[in-house]
């Protein structure tokens, strides 16, 4: 069989594809459990990053787990704006945000007019993180809320921490996204993330007022506390982020819950 004949070309291509597919899918399947563990730990590190809990030295798994004793993980019923009681409806250990988001029984589609984050549908139950003053205390000082929305190339998954009393922003971080490195990818830049510190999302009447304007925000602007300027060269990523924050902190998102917290506080 001549190597350049049509038959052998097809045969060799086929054989090569089968072998390479086996190699690639084999490695993906075998390594998946390890990768999932890594992702979970990475997510926890992201929560800790905005929680304000200080950790010395390298973030090992043990240090992360022990720091998490200061965090109360709870499930929020977004529609009701209320936290579920501990153990109610879901087993926290097995709660997988991705499946909850995809399961029609625990998610709803978003009206196009309201869907500023362009995510089409969202979960009805959200896993949120309440940061206590200390592992033994029952006073909450910060609430860490997951948000997600479409950027330019990908869905950006982030965590915003708000103060439990005045709801000012205490931190923002993204644990997953595929935006352009150096442009939209600058949402990971700690210098830009630091601009979010102490900004306010709602005004005194609890109306949503936060924005991400294109122009740079000057300190003399009286409205500066409601603004974080967008990233140069990353218009579409910034637009996506603006829409994401508008959606999640708006009336179809977490506004109801946060209003309840303002009026009644949080009962663990």
């Amino acid at each position: 069989m001549k190597k350049d004949s049509t038959f052998s070309t097809i045969l060799i291509s086929f054989a090569l594809c089968v072998i390479c597919s086996l190699l690639v899918s084999g490695s993906v399947v075998l390594l998946k459990p390890l990768q999932e563990e890594n992702k979970k730990l990475d997510f926890k590190k992201s929560v800790l990053k905005v929680s304000g809990i200080g950790i010395d030295g390298d973030l090992t798994k043990d240090k992360v787990d022990s720091a998490f004793k200061q965090i109360e993980t709870r499930i929020l019923d977004i529609e009701a704006g209320e936290l579920l009681r501990k153990g109610e409806k879901f087993d926290l250990e097995k709660f997988d945000p991705g499946s909850i988001r995809r399961d029609p029984a625990t998610s709803k589609s978003i009206e196009a007019a309201l869907d500023k984050g362009n995510i089409k549908s969202r979960e009805l139950f959200l896993r949120i993180f309440l940061v206590k003053d200390s592992p033994e205390s029952s006073t909450i000082n910060r609430i860490v809320l997951p948000i997600h929305g479409k950027g330019l190339w990908s869905t950006m998954f982030g965590l915003i921490a708000v103060d439990a009393k005045d709801f000012s922003i205490k931190g923002i971080t993204f644990y997953e996204h595929g935006e352009t490195p150096g442009l939209g990818g600058e949402i990971d830049n700690p210098i830009w993330q630091a601009k979010w510190l102490d900004k306010k999302i709602y005004d005194d009447n609890f109306q949503f007022k936060f924005s991400i304007p294109k122009a740079s925000v000057s300190d003399s602007d009286p409205e500066a506390k409601f603004k974080v300027s967008a990233i140069s060269g990353a218009t579409l990523t910034s637009n996506g982020l603006r829409g994401t924050v508008e959606y999640w902190f708006g009336s179809d998102g977490l506004q109801k819950f946060l209003k309840n917290v303002k009026e009644r506080g949080i009962n663990l």
């Binding site: 004949s5 060799i12 291509s13 490695s27 390890l34 890594n38 490195p181």
Partner: protein, 205 residues
Amino acid sequence: MKMKKILLDPVINNNPIGLQILGICSALAVTTKMETALVMSLAVTLVTAFSSFFVSLIRDYIPSSVRIIVQMTIIASLVIVADQLMRAYIFEISKSLSVYVGLIITNCIVMGRAEGYAMKNGPIDSFIDGIGNGLGYSVILMSVAFFRELLGSGSLFGVQILKLTTSGGHYEANGLMLLAPSAFFLIALIIWLIRTFKKEQIEND
């Protein structure tokens, strides 16, 4: 010894970045820290070596009409496997390398050696040639990373050597070193250095 020549030639005499001017792109992005440069160097070296090995192994059976695609398939599969291994075993570093691991597929050195050497030589020679070119690439990458990390962050492999003014020390970090163009300048300086000592590398105009 022939093996020695195949292995060591690409390090200085026929350096893929220095003489062949291949594979520059990734050299810019991953050389801000020596740690990421090292991982990238290892990844490129192993991918080049193994892809050259496998291409050489089946070189007599590859139909010429699909030659490039076959090489591409082998290279791509190896890169995906390398990426998966990194995400499983060195997750933090793989996050800082982000898209650049996947971009090894487009690195001209890998394809260049597969087409330029592996198609005409035996598997063991091709493997060694891959390692050699990977070594040449690594030498340049690590040199660039050495200067960029030292002058840009005051550290080497994460260990603080020069205390930065931002942490109360005396060294004012050179911000240009953390931006991509500095890698261009450093590579140009290295090429100049090599050609000062190895005049035969200078191209005749």
